[in-house]
Subunit: 345 residues, 3 copies
């Protein structure tokens, strides 16, 4: 695809966007700026450590930010370029154009096992060894890759994609265009047991898991259903690999949960909450809209909207940074303290 | 089901239990106190933050603790109620009555692949695409959901349930009524490698994994077998999702391990140990009976029976609480120290 | 197998190796020193806490280090023994001799679904319900256990073993003799989203995952492919269970990553790096050759070659040990400080 053709398809590009008037290479793919070779497209963000790589890149064309100096530099290097407000977003669009996803033709593989009481929409793809249970409903255009198991009483909205060997349990309700990655488990029994004189007695988990529209769940992640009521993930939320979400958790819209995050039962997250890798959220914690927790932090109680927290137990990030710096000086502080203490005595 | 009928089936209820003599609504289900609607049962614990919700609940009937004030309040509200020593336990029993689990009819799905040298008990259910290897033994009444893979030489006691796409490796020995949730892996090779001049050399893992009676293993959790000897999980222990248990670990009876706990090879846990979410236990650590570790703590060495520990490295919880509070004041302490130090010099 | 016969097969044994000239029991298996019974082989390392168990072991034969005192002790006990430089390595070899792994006969199970455009090498074993997609290539002697799903465009070198229900996504490239354990996922989409006014927009993940020769990936672990370029795991690296490796991560040769480690996108590890359980590595961190991180540490920025780090944020292990010790005295330090402060005022 010609660079100029690509540009006509990018939502980010308008007539006002400055671009190199001359260069129009044929593009065969895309790569990182410092790895790109002939025929490849790359992108550059302002403040990006790769900025210096612009001088050395072998890319054929670059998407760059609205920055006169970078534009000048790109022109001097003889690179085809376009300057945009959000080069990363434009790069995402370009990748879809340069590497279009293969579209699976609708159809049911002969080894798939579909209960006669399931309802399958139009244009659905069911791969080899897929199982769909009684009473389950697959919306139009759903794609289920090989080995997926849908128990009874599961509902998927239109255009959902479920990757190989993922499992959806009874009571799972997925909105439209959700993506469930390989080996994820949705709607499994919450971890609820009542202590008795004879040991742990299971609390039956009769509730639902609801994934609103365009939720994405990473490989191996698990989202449990509660004893009563529902576990709910807000529309457009994105969940990375190996994340655990306990029974009865409710998140707002557009949250992003990085790999190996764990959220205990009954916690409530607002809209746009971002939890970095390996964060833990305790039982019934409440996290306000757009709050951010840095990696490995552990959250109890409440986090106010917009706050950035770190550490365990989590405290405001700025305070934590200063406390952590002081932590490294503890042996020195202890020494000083001993000296002062013996001086004073 | 009538409330009065339900009560006759609750093990918790005796004639001595005070109850509302009049109210006997027809119940259609159950819900949390603050979400319950017409025809629904709810429960209330003493000290429960939901106590105030009793005033506002729309539930038809409630299970409440032995508390005169709450009984009076429930009567005033015109709710059907019964007072019990353990309303949570009674609620668990009630859920089983109101939402009985579907019973799968025994039988082997035509797509299941069972080795002729496997032994299958009476009344076993094998779902679609289940695989059972040579020499494996399934006790009476076992239920294997679709996609489960049982390698050769695995033994399941009577009444075990294995959820979709879980995998049991050679040498796995499950007691009676164990539950293995979706995508869990039992009996996989322990992570044992010997450093050599040519890199890591695998230590063969020839041991067994033993799950005693009524052990439950969460979705995606992994329990490894050791090079020699066994990994053993004590009877009635409950393991949440995404937990890792290394080779040669031995736990006592009735332990509860929350999500994302990791236990390294050779660690030993007593009876009734509770590890909260994301706790890590090091190689060969020893944890006494009924010890508790709060979330994210990291345990090396020994923890005495009954102790409650926190932090990393884990220390007694009360000490940790005070240390953590002081941690947040470190910058202030450092400042004071600098001032005193310069005063003194 | 006779002890003497076993010894002729151990690479570790030379004529110069001292051994007991008389004892030559028939061996039926192996066990830990303190658990071994009649007919069993055990081993002993110098400095091993089990050394005292030599006096009490019921083993028939032992592999011991080059230590005169231990040799004398073994002879006195009447044990058959051999002394070697690396008894652990010899024990690994002995286990392979005493418990040889069953070899699966080549063949394709009738329920396996292999795309006509896949290429299958000589002597390959495909278990029940295996799926192999179009354009995928399996080298000679590969073993795929039941339920494995290989998407389109995946390549496995000769002698790879993939355990039950693992999933390999498009663009996965495995070298020779790699092992992928049950329910692991290789080549899944990296967690890349671009924030927009309308929420998170997926960054297409068009890159590859490369596992070089003899890489081993544990149960339930996930290794993501990047938007462009590749995620690469160096030859001979061993990865434990439930590890997450983000898009674009590159590791050197011979790394060892323990259970529940998480490595965020773009991090770079040198050769021989060892990360203990639950370690987290941030975005684009750089870790030098043979560096070691103790369990639960969190690494940002850079770690120099050969360094041992601990804590979060990770600092040199020796400093961290002193800081952690001081942390436990924080309440006391705070008290002393208050006293001095009031004295001084």
């Amino acid at each position: 695809m010609r660079f100029s053709t690509l540009l006509t398809h990018l939502g980010e590009v308008s007539d006002a966007t400055p671009r190199d008037p001359a260069g129009d290479p044929e593009l065969s793919g895309a790569a990182a700026l410092d790895r790109a070779g002939a025929g490849q497209l790359a992108f550059l963000e302002s403040g990006n450590a790769l900025a210096q790589a612009l001088a050395a890149t072998a890319a054929a064309a670059v998407l760059i930010p609205l920055d006169d100096e970078l534009q000048r530099q790109a022109s001097e290097r003889g690179l085809a370029w376009v300057a945009l407000k959000d080069p990363r977003l434009a790069f995402a669009e370009a990748l879809d154009l340069l590497h279009p996803r293969p579209v699976l033709p609708p159809g049911v593989h002969p080894t798939a096992v579909v209960d006669p009481h399931a309802r399958i929409g139009e244009g659905v793809y069911l791969g080899a060894h897929v199982v769909v249970g009684a009473g389950s409903v697959l919306g139009d255009g759903c794609v289920l890759h090989p080995g997926v198991v849908i128990y009874d009483d599961v509902e998927l909205g239109e255009g959902c994609e479920v990757h190989a060997n993922a499992v959806l349990h009874p009571g799972s309700r997925l909105g439209r265009r959700c993506v469930v990655h390989s080996n994820a488990v949705i709607g499994s029994e919450g971890f609820g047991f009542v202590p008795t004189a004879n040991g742990w007695r299971k609390m039956p988990q009769t509730g639902l898991v609801v994934l609103e529209d365009e939720v994405e769940v990473g490989c191996g992640s698990t989202i449990d259903r509660p004893s009563v009521g529902e576990t709910r993930i807000g529309a457009g939320s994105k969940i990375d690999n190996l994340v655990h979400i306990g029974h009865g958790v409710v998140t707002g819209r557009g949250c992003a949960l990085a790999a190996q995050v764990g959220i205990a039962g009954g916690a409530v997250l607002g809209d746009g909450v971002i939890l970095a890798g390996q964060v833990g959220v305790a039982n019934k914690a409440v996290i306000g809209d757009r709050a951010i927790a840095s990696s490995k932090s552990g959250i109890h109680g409440e986090v106010a909207a917009g706050e950035v927290v770190s550490g365990y137990p989590a405290i405001p990030n700025r305070l934590w940074l200063r406390c952590s710096a002081a932590f490294n000086k503890l042996p020195e502080m202890a020494r000083t303290l001993r000296r002062l203490s013996s001086d004073g005595s």
